[in-house]
């Protein structure tokens, strides 16, 4: 079984790595990070802040969008092109296939993100002459955020078409980012059914904002270690829940 799993992960990874959307995202982000790090209009302090800010935004943006675009159509494409049947004809559980699809695509996204992260950390090293630990922590949590977004995309893709999956995931991603600052205030300002509905939506949505430590990196702020552990456990559990729900749904789906 592990052999079949790794073969499927490898196939999914190779398919994802060949997709043009990933190449464009990674190249575009690398150019933006490199330009922000090399073209100097400001003094060193401001320049370093711009490199950190731009770098983190580009890694997050490219990683999240690549994950959404790679995974939103993966399952639909396999069913439509009938690529799924020869795999399921073998003694491979559907869940294993889905998890392999997830890890393969995520591996390809992580490869691109690693290129961007290495560029960002190298540029920071050039400017600061030391390795920023906070930069590594902030980048690591961006990886976790992308894993969560990818799992959410996988879950939604077991219900809808690729276009609907991509749009709905981005919508939920935005809502998750606005959860604490916007949805909670919105719930407080309303009453009755509207308040109940907003609170219910807010309770289910992932807290995406919790994974972002860009401000701490840019302004050199300290983040408590116990909070980092809490967010890491939260991210891992939420991602695992989304993958488990995807497996549950995919096992019952007619293909």
């Amino acid at each position: 079984m592990p052999r079949a799993f790794f073969a499927l992960v490898r196939l999914s990874f190779l398919e994802a790595v060949r997709r043009q959307v990933l190449h464009v995202m990674v190249l575009l982000s690398l150019v933006v990070i490199a330009v922000a790090g090399t073209v100097s209009f400001f003094d060193l302090g401001v320049q370093v802040k711009i490199v950190k800010d731009t770098g983190m935004v580009m890694i997050l943006l490219a990683g999240s969008l690549s994950a959404v675009f790679l995974l939103s159509g993966a399952l639909f494409h396999d069913v439509e092109q009938r690529l799924l049947y020869p795999v399921l004809a073998r003694p491979i559980p559907r869940g294993l296939y889905l998890v392999a699809r997830y890890f393969g695509a995520l591996g390809a996204v992580y490869l691109g993100m690693t290129l961007m992260s290495v560029t960002l950390i190298a540029l920071l090293w050039v400017h600061l002459h030391y390795l920023s630990t906070l930069a590594i922590v902030a980048v690591a949590f961006t990886y976790l955020e992308v894993a969560l977004v990818a799992a959410l995309t996988l879950l939604i893709s077991t219900f809808f078409t690729p276009a609907m999956t991509a749009t709905l995931t981005l919508f939920l991603y935005l809502l998750g980012s606005l959860k604490m600052g916007y949805l909670h205030h919105l719930a407080e300002r309303n009453s009755g059914f509207t308040k109940w509905a907003i609170t219910a939506v807010s309770a289910v949505l992932p807290n995406i904002e919790a994974f972002r430590f860009k401000d701490a990196l840019v302004h050199d702020l300290t983040v408590p270690a116990n909070y980092l552990i809490l967010v890491a456990v939260y991210g891992a559990c939420y991602t695992a829940m989304c993958v488990a729900l995807s497996i549950w749904r995919f096992q019952r789906r007619e293909v």
């Binding site: 981005l170 604490m180 600052g181 807290n207 401000d215 939420y238």
Partner: protein
């Protein structure tokens, strides 16, 4: 198609709020790692996920024993 358009419009409508929130967050609100409400919410969701996982795991275990 209808639902796709509705979701697209809702997403575009949300974008200004995201940017407004970013600006707002920079000036007035405490950072999320300083906010006790965020910590409380993360713990609540973790508890809910753990409970749901335990219930689902228990159900699967019982089902496997009843129908081996």
């Amino acid at each position: 198609m209808k639902w796709l358009i509705i979701t697209l419009i809702a997403t575009v409508a949300l974008l200004p709020s995201v940017f407004a929130e970013e600006e707002h967050g920079h000036h007035h609100e405490p950072k999320h790692w300083q906010n006790a409400a965020v910590r409380h919410e993360l713990l609540t969701q973790l508890g809910a996920i753990g409970t749901a996982g335990a219930i689902a795991g228990g159900y699967l275990l019982i089902r496997r024993r009843v129908h081996p």
